[in-house]
């Protein structure tokens, strides 16, 4: 059993042992190592190869302790504490032993600290100083690895887009290889050869480019692995850290920004371990995403469109212009007809001020944060809204005995949760199941991966229920009632329709019925589906039939940094009653007008009933899944204001463009998918004249004579909303579900799914050079078989045609895909994949053909 698990889940009634540690009596659960016990009581034992999240291997011998009655020094990371043991962690013998270990480790280690980027934060350097190893009895030539172009101690070997390896410095603690395999399930790094030339390296013919690769550098105790991103730029002791959060995932990974006093720039990001959220691992997007802030392409000044061209102006001019336009519209139409769309990655203050402006200044309920979803239901207590509001806890994954992930490619959407499930897979071994319309790498931890026919999501869920009924593992009277509500109503029909195996479905149904603690998480396949209400209704039925939520958690995971916050703060056209109540209390008046979501707004823009639109931080032109439609809609507007960090296709369409400050440039609070509110602190000054969204809103509102947009008033409103429990009660009745079917039109036969690349998220990360070093352009991902069938090779250009548009994309062959589904990332402006989509379609389909050179 690992220390990790023990630390995270103190089991109440496990047997304990009591032993003496440096004279102090310590009681710990049986199976705890001496090292962990020492850490728990604050006694420091030096280590190289030990990591709290990995199984101990005892490779470095640095953690020696002296144990009475044991003839030799013992490695404490491998030694379970036992009753009556007497342990010394700092005796003469121990110090001598450690010194010897250091001398040994330093045999071949180059003394190149002055040119080593780890200097200042190197475990080996620090411990060598501490133990005063100043001499080396080894007078042979040190073993050296040399790359052609490098001299002496340098051995710079690029083993991944962002990782440089110096094998001379490596002390072979194997932490990197172990973390890669064990914690991330990745096999692109290994330890090769033996003896003096044992070395870490990328897999033959490959490179280390997995989505968690940056962590390997962070855990290396010496300067053997360094980041291309950080090396030779600055010394670590010249930097200061600012605690912050990842802006690209919804769990809010805890990170530190590194900056230097004299330069307004971030140098790097490392994890700021928070075991309840991230276990100290961060994804590469989290690590390198900060480069977006540093980008030279950032918008510096407001822009106004004059004679068809956007020109730089002062803030005063821009705000005056907005106010004038606002009044013009108001006068010509007789009322304000303005809408607002805001990104769910912005902080609470910004979201709340924006909603306050739209509701109290523009007096409208035309507001939404969901810019890239299809056909959103308006009703907050729709099945989707209900399931989305259910609570979710990351740490609860640790002690679930059944984990089901439905419609989520976890590695891409929820990297932290994936690693958490992987940890359970390594230690507590729950039953894990994955259900997706295409197969995914994330399912490598699953006992069974269910791949259902695209577009039959609700039937796949129904099939689980029907399997449970056939297996007699659910309440009989509920079963009779359930069957009345669903079509198809037999397991045979349902499994045939969704293409799943009856016997396998029965295994899943049995696990859900018999599981003691279940985590059932639902992802983007559902969230972004046009049929999401039907799918979630099916999930609610399943939940009721199996009594799932009474013994675990089922929730649709929030996807963006503050999606949960946006819901809790009522950034929706029609928030749930208690939130609406709070808003009514806070606002001088709450608008009566009809609530319109993104889609409703677009419809009314097209009818010319909405004349102006504010877009903050969103890029619908790139992300809305029907490019033609959104373009036509925005073109109809009289007045469009867009705030963003960069010029985008959306800002191009705007009459006024305002430079937005990034998340590292001001203090902000964000609510993660668990509903936990965390703070990110300002690390650097805003680029150019950019401003935080809440400041922009305040300028506009105050210009229009609205006073209460100061930080204090806004924070008061935020606080009131966050205090409200937004969980909606689950329905008591079964809901009617009739499977939807969509005709597949002849030639367009391949289903496509628009995804986020493993190293990108949304439209901003394209501005991070390090992330582009992993993937810099869109691709068409297909299975090996499909490529072979069409005679296509990796990187061959392929024409992808839908009913409405076509694109040419290079082929990328995926090892995990195995059907005729195609995947295309949406993160690259140069390949507008959303142009292939039509909003009326549930599943977009295309045909593909090779482009002949």
């Amino acid at each position: 059993m690992s220390e990790a698990v023990k630390k995270d889940q103190p089991k109440v009634s496990v047997p304990t042992v009591t032993f003496s540690l440096d004279g102090q009596s310590v009681t710990v659960p049986k199976g705890t190592t001496v090292l962990q016990a020492a850490k728990d009581v604050g006694i420091h034992i030096p280590t190289f190869c030990w990591h709290p999240q990995l199984k101990s291997v005892g490779a470095c011998r640095m953690c020696y302790v002296e144990v009475e009655k044991m003839p030799k020094l013992m490695v404490s990371c491998m030694l379970d504490a036992m009753d009556g043991m007497v342990v010394q962690t700092d005796s003469d013998q121990v110090r001598q032993g450690r010194k010897a270990v250091l001398e040994f480790i330093l045999l071949n280690h180059p003394l190149d600290c002055p040119t080593c980027d780890k200097g200042g934060e190197c475990d080996l350097q620090n411990l060598t100083f501490k133990h005063g190893v100043d001499d080396n009895r080894f007078d042979f030539k040190k073993a050296r690895f040399k790359e052609e172009s490098m001299t002496t101690t340098f051995d710079d070997k690029k083993i991944g887009p962002e990782i440089v390896l110096n094998r001379n410095r490596c002390i072979l603690c194997y932490k990197c290889v172990r973390a890669n395999k064990e914690a991330f399930g990745e096999y692109d790094l290994g330890a090769f050869e033996r003896g003096n030339i044992t070395q870490i390296d990328a897999v033959p013919g490959g490179e280390v480019c997995n989505p968690f690769s940056g962590n390997l550098v962070e855990i290396c105790p010496v300067g053997a692995l360094t980041n291309s991103d950080w090396r030779y730029k600055i010394r670590v002791w010249l930097t200061k850290t600012t605690p912050s959060l990842c802006n690209f995932n919804s769990s809010g990974s805890n990170i530190d920004f590194y900056k230097e006093d004299h330069q307004n720039k971030i140098f790097r990001v490392t994890s700021r371990t928070n075991d309840s959220i991230d276990d100290g691992w961060i994804s590469d997007i989290t690590r390198y995403g900060y480069q977006v802030i540093n980008s030279a392409d950032r918008l510096q000044k407001p822009l106004i469109k004059k004679d068809g061209k956007q020109v730089e102006v002062s803030w005063d001019e821009a705000i005056n212009f907005i106010a004038k336009k606002y009044n013009d519209i108001k006068e010509s139409v007789g009322r304000v007809c303005i809408g607002g769309l805001i990104s769910p990655s912005l902080d609470n203050r910004s979201l709340y001020s924006f909603s306050k402006m739209i509701r109290t200044v523009c007096k409208s309920n035309n507001i939404d944060f969901r810019g890239d979803y299809r056909m959103l239901p308006n009703n907050p207590d729709s099945p989707f809204g209900v399931l989305r509001s259910q609570p979710f806890s990351i740490a609860e994954i640790d002690d679930s005995d059944v984990i089901v992930s439905f419609g989520s490619d976890l590695i891409h959407e929820h990297p932290n949760e994936y690693l958490r499930i992987r940890k359970a897979f390594n230690y507590t071994q729950p039953k894990i199941y994955s259900m997706m319309p295409y197969s995914v790498k994330s399912a490598d931890v699953a006992n069974i991966e269910y791949v259902y026919t695209p577009g039959t999501d609700e039937t796949a869920i129904n099939a689980i229920c029907l399997a449970g009924i056939e297996e007699n593992v659910v309440d009989a009277s509920m079963a009779t009632e359930y069957i009345k509500h669903v079509v198809p109503s037999t397991l045979k029909d349902a499994s045939a329709l969704c293409g799943l195996d009856e016997a396998e479905l029965k295994i899943l149904a049995r696990s859900i019925a018999e599981g003691k603690k279940i985590t059932f998480l639902v992802g983007e396949i559902v969230t972004r589906s046009k049929a999401r209400d039907i799918i979630t209704a099916a999930l609610l039925n399943m939940n009721k039939l199996f009594g799932l939520s009474s013994k675990g958690q089922i929730s649709i995971l929030a996807r963006y940094a503050n999606s949960k916050g946006a819901e809790k703060l009522g950034i929706l056209p029609d928030p749930i009653a208690p939130i609406k109540e709070a808003l009514k209390n806070d606002f001088e008046e709450y608008p009566e007008s009809e609530p319109r979501n993104t889609d409703g707004m677009m419809a009314h823009i097209r009818k010319e009933e909405i004349k102006g639109l504010f877009i903050v931080g969103s890029n619908p032109m790139m992300l809305y899944p029907d490019k033609e439609f959104i373009k036509e809609s925005l073109d109809k507007l009289d007045f469009l204001v867009v705030c963003d960090l960069f010029e985008t296709e959306t800002t191009e369409a705007a009459d006024v463009v305002l430079p937005l400050a990034g998340w590292a440039e001001y203090d902000g609070d964000y609510v993660n998918l668990e509903g936990v509110c965390q703070s990110a602190k300002q690390a650097v000054k805003p680029a150019g004249e950019s401003k935080a969204a809440y400041e922009i809103v305040r300028l506009i509102a105050e210009k229009l004579e609205h006073k209460t947009f100061d930080v204090e008033s806004i924070d008061k409103g935020v606080e009131a909303c966050l205090a409200i429990d937004t969980t909606i009660k689950l329905p008591n009745e079964f809901l009617d579900i009739k499977a939807e079917s969509e005709d597949v039109t002849g030639e367009f036969s391949h289903p496509i799914f628009i995804i986020d690349d493993a190293h990108h998220c949304g439209h901003l990360t394209e501005k991070a050079p390090s992330l582009n070093n992993f993937t810099a352009e869109a691709y068409l991902m297909m299975s090996e078989e499909l490529a072979a069938k069409n005679n296509m090779q990796e990187n061959d250009p392929v024409r992808v045609e839908s009913e409405v548009s076509k694109l040419i994309l290079p082929v990328k062959i995926s090892e995990s895909l195995d059907s005729d589904v195609l995947l295309i990332p949406r993160n690259f402006q140069s390949s507008p994949v959303t142009s292939l989509c039509m909003r009326k379609r549930r599943i977009d389909r295309v045909k593909i053909s090779k482009v002949d050179e």
């Binding site: 096999y187 692109d188 790094l189 290994g190 090769f192 050869e193 033996r194 897999v203 033959p204």
Partner: protein, 159 residues
């Protein structure tokens, strides 16, 4: 595929003996080695598919075991023992002799791809040192004349 169907069948038959997939790595190579004479990246990939173990783990193990040659070798692999007993009995001069005779250095292969020469650690034939292993056969109690004869015989051998 480089592995023949016969080899694949043999590997699969061996793989089922082990509760852990990884354990089948060494037996799989033996099969591959017998067929091809060496193991390399392409073979790692194929074995990885056949036994369902990530390629990196196969490569790690392969580089650890020096006895599996990693690149194509000559028809005859001369492994001269250079460990203590053989060294005391003159293995160094055996190596020099072979180097001169074949006009290659230790670790190299002759241009006609007939002979490769390497030094290895103790092969358990200390009592009859110095010795050389040629493919699967031991030749012991060597001296220069015996070596010459050995090489000439091999050269003369048809097929």
């Amino acid at each position: 595929m480089i592995l023949t169907e016969d080899s694949i069948a043999k590997i699969k038959a061996k793989a089922v003996r082990y509760p852990r997939k990884k354990s089948a790595i060494l037996p799989a190579w033996t099969v591959a080695y017998r067929q091809i004479g060496h193991v390399d990246e392409a073979i790692y990939k194929e074995i990885s598919k056949v036994i369902g173990v990530p390629m990196v783990e196969i490569a790690e193990a392969a580089t650890f075991y020096t006895m599996f040659p990693k690149k194509p070798r000559g028809k005859y692999l001369l492994q001269v023992c250079n460990n203590i007993s053989c060294a005391l009995r003159g293995s160094d001069s055996m190596i020099t002799h072979l180097e001169n005779k074949l006009d290659i250095k230790l670790g190299e292969t002759t241009d006609d791809n007939q002979f490769s020469l390497i030094a290895v650690e103790c092969l358990g034939a200390c009592a009859t040192a110095p010795m050389v292993q040629v493919n699967m056969e031991y030749h012991e109690n060597l001296d220069a004349t015996k070596l010459d004869k050995l090489i000439d015989d091999l050269k003369a051998k048809k097929d």
